[in-house]
C-alpha cells in the first residue's frame, strides 16, 4: 500500500551539520502526528525540510510513492504545506492575503470566498477583518489567518509549526477543532511540531519524541540557547 508520505532515515540540519538524524515517518489521510521536543532544537528545520524549503542532509522523502524531488516544487508545496509559527502577512488586506496563493501558476482551483467565510466563523474571526490591512491584526488573529490561508488551498498534508503559540485558551480550542476537522472530514494529514505535551495528547493520533534523534551538536545548541533565555528557533 502506498502511503501519503513516507520518510526514511532522514537527517536534517543546516550548513553547520545535522541537528536531527534517523527520522522515520509514515503519514496517511486522517493522521495527526505530533512532533515533540524541546524548543529550538530542529523541529522547524525538520518541518521545513519536509516541505522542501531546506535541503535534507540525508534520507528519503516519498509522496504517494514518488520521490518528492521528482514533483515540481511549487506543486509539491501546495500538497505538503508548511505553516510558520510566526504568522507572516503580506503587506496588503486580509482578503488579498487569502487570495494570494490562488494567483500562483501552481493553483489548481479558484479562491472560494464561501469557504473562507465558513472557516473564519469556525476560528472565531469576524468577517469584517477581510477588508482590514493584514498588518493591523493582533498576533492571535494573524496566526489564525495564516492557518486559514494554508487550509484554503486544501493541502494533502499540513506541516504546522507551533500553530497555537500566539493564541489564548478559547481560540486554541477553535484552532484545534479546526485541525481535527481537517483530518477527520477532509481526510487531510497533519504534522504538528509542539513543545506542549498536553496539546499533543489532545489532538494527535500518534506522537514522535525527537529527543533521542537529536545530534550531540543539537543538544548543546539547545542547552546554550535555553540558558540564554531566547526562544532559540534555529534558522
Amino acid at each position: 500500500m502506498t502511503h501519503l508520505l513516507d520518510v526514511n532515515a532522514l537527517s536534517v540540519g543546516n550548513a553547520d551539520g545535522p541537528l536531527i538524524s534517523g527520522f522515520e515517518l509514515t503519514l496517511n489521510p486522517g493522521d495527526i502526528v505530533g512532533v515533540l521536543g524541546p524548543s529550538g532544537c530542529g523541529k522547524t528545520t525538520l518541518l521545513k525540510t519536509l516541505a522542501g524549503l531546506i535541503d535534507a542532509v540525508a534520507g528519503r522523502i516519498t509522496f504517494l510513492g514518488r520521490a518528492f524531488h521528482r514533483i515540481p516544487m511549487p506543486t509539491y508545496r501546495r500538497l505538503v504545506t508548511y505553516v510558520d509559527q510566526t504568522p507572516i502577512m503580506l503587506n496588503m488586506s486580509v482578503r488579498e492575503n487569502l487570495e494570494r496563493p490562488f494567483t500562483y501558476a501552481s493553483a489548481d482551483a479558484a479562491y472560494d470566498p464561501e469557504a473562507a467565510l465558513k472557516s473564519m466563523d469556525a476560528l472565531n474571526l469576524d468577517h469584517g477583518l477581510l477588508d482590514q490591512h493584514a498588518g493591523k491584526l493582533s498576533g492571535g488573529q494573524m496566526q489564525r489567518i495564516s492557518l486559514l490561508r494554508a487550509l484554503l488551498i486544501k493541502p494533502a498534508i499540513m506541516l504546522l509549526d507551533e500553530p497555537t503559540s500566539n493564541l489564548d485558551a478559547d481560540t486554541v480550542q477553535a484552532a484545534e477543532t479546526m485541525i481535527k476537522q481537517y483530518a477527520r472530514q477532509d481526510k487531510g494529514a497533519c504534522m504538528l511540531a509542539t513543545h506542549n505535551v498536553a496539546q499533543a495528547r489532545r489532538i494527535c493520533s500518534s506522537i514522535i519524541d525527537i529527543k533521542p534523534l537529536l545530534t550531540e551538536k543539537a543538544r548543546l545548541t539547545c542547552k546554550l540557547n535555553n540558558f540564554n533565555g531566547n526562544g532559540c528557533e534555529n534558522e
Binding site: L53, D55, D84, A105
Partner: protein
Amino acid sequence: MSDPLSNHAINLGFFDLCIASGLVLVAALISYKMRLGLERQLRIAALRTVVQLLLIGFVLKKIFMMENIWAILVLSVIMVVMAGRAAVARPKRTVAGMNWLAMGALSLVGFVTTFSVTAIIIGVDPWYKAQYAIPLLGMILGNSLNGLSLCIDSMLESLSAGWREVEMELSLGASRWEAAQRPFAEAVRRGMMPTINSMMVVGIVSLPGMMTGQILEGANPVSAVKYQIVVMFMIAASTAMGSLLIAFLMYKRLFNARHQLNHQLIQSTKR
C-alpha cells in the same frame, strides 16, 4: 562679423588653468575662515582633479592616435572593472561574487549600448573608434553604475529583511520567480528612478555637462542638444538594462532550482 556660432573653442593655456585654481583658493579661504577644517581635503581633491584629468587626457590622446582595437579594449576593460567595483562598494549588503556579477552586467550593457550608438545612430567607422566609443562608454558606465548600486541595495535589503515573506509565499506554492517578483520589481524601479528624474528636469534645472562642454567648444546649441538627446536615451536604456540584468543575476544567485531562497548568502558589507 561672421556667424558667432562658427567660432572655434578658445584654447586654454597653462596660465588660464592657474587662474582657475584661484577659484579653489576661494573655497579654501572660506573653509579656513569658518574653521570647516576642509583645507587639507580640498588641497588633495584639487590636486587629484588636476593629476587624474591630465593623466587621462594624455592616455586618451595616445589611444586616439593609436587607433588600435587592443588598446581600446584594454582601456574599456579597465573602465568596466573600476565601474563594477564602484557599483558594489556602496550598497549595504552583498553576496559572494557580487563584483563579477556587476562587471558582467556592466560589460554587456556597455558593449550593447556603445555599439548601437556608434555603429547605428552616429554611424562611426569603425564603430569602436576611440574618440567616440571611449567617452560614450564612460558616460554609460558612470550612469548605469549608480543604477546598479541602488538596484543591488534595494534587492538585497528586501530579501534579507523580508526573507520570511518570500519563504512564506514559496511554502504556499509560489514558484521562485513568483516569490521574487516583488523585491525584483522594486529593485529595478529603484535603479531606474534617478535616470527618469533627471530626464524630467534636463534643460530646465540642469544643463548636462557634455552639452555645456560642446557649447563652450563653440558648437551650435541645437546640434549639442541633439547629441544630448541621444546621450539621455542611451543612459536611460543602459540603466534599465543594467538594473534588470543585475537583478536577474542576483535572483539566479539567491534562488536555486529547487525553488528555495538562500538568504544566508547575503552578507553585510563591512565598513
